[in-house]
């Protein structure tokens, strides 16, 4: 599967820019990479502009400056899918419970 590298994403600057090492993106854990890919998938499938996600991300980082970058990323993505109605809060809560039950 080929993926178009979105320059709107790769040129994000300031606090919303993804962490890099030697110019490359750095994922410290597997879930961070998956969260990264999820945002790209969702923006594309919902027909949104990348800036729609970027705005949520900037808002999350501003609201939680001490939080790790990809924690804000996940929160921004949750906010995005809730706001556009793709997922309901109830569904999200149920999914959290399911995942917790599976993991324990």
């Amino acid at each position: 599967m080929t993926v178009r590298v979105d320059t709107a994403l790769t040129t994000m600057t300031g606090p919303a820019a993804p962490p890099r090492r030697n110019g490359e993106l750095v994922f410290d854990a597997r879930w961070q990479g998956r969260a990264f890919g999820m945002a790209i998938a969702v923006v594309e499938r919902l027909g949104l502009e990348w800036t729609a996600f970027q705005r949520q991300l900037i808002a999350e980082i501003a609201a939680h400056p001490e939080a790790p970058y990809y924690d804000c990323w996940v929160a921004a993505l949750e906010r995005l899918v809730l706001d556009c109605g793709a997922v309901t809060a109830e569904e999200m809560k149920t999914a959290h419970n399911t995942v917790r039950a599976q993991a324990s």
Binding site: R34, M38, A75, A95
Partner: protein
Amino acid sequence: MSGHDDEHHHPAPLSPVEVRARALEELLTEKGLIQEGFIDAVVSAYENDIGPMNGARVVARAWVDPAYKTRLLANGTAAIAELGFGGPEGEHLVVVENTPAVHNVVVCTLCSCYPWPVLGLPPNWYKSPPYRARIVREPRVLLREMGLDLPESVEIRVWDSSAEIRYMVLPERPAGTEGKNEAELAALVSRDAMIGTARP
């Protein structure tokens, strides 16, 4: 942060954010917003396919293979294509060689032309007006500020990239690396060394 890859074999307690990320992925997959394989493809594209490791492999090959180095300096685009790299924004790659007497550094004074296929994403400073102006006007001073203090005896050549020609620096092989293999050598080559604002 260890153990994430074998979590299926040894279930470890998930952190709250991991629970949220996994729940989100399951929900979005269920709703058809994520296609099978898409996330892996995205991660791989952003993490592996673009990035300075491509350029580093070119440099390492040139260090161990004199015939390759000759081809690289004669026709950068063709020699880089031999290793499988190229494509848009890498069509006219020119490689300039550092020697004990000459240090090369790359800029794009007009905008931010950059050899993407070999160097990945340009760093923010590369696109900044101060770098673009000062590396031409006072390269020695700026390089020193960036941590590269070159002796006065070394001539500095500044290469201005454009939409037609994109430059990449072939750094000098560091002393004391005779015993290293190609992969180990590639790990020594940083993005900045291939722009010319650092040395490996």
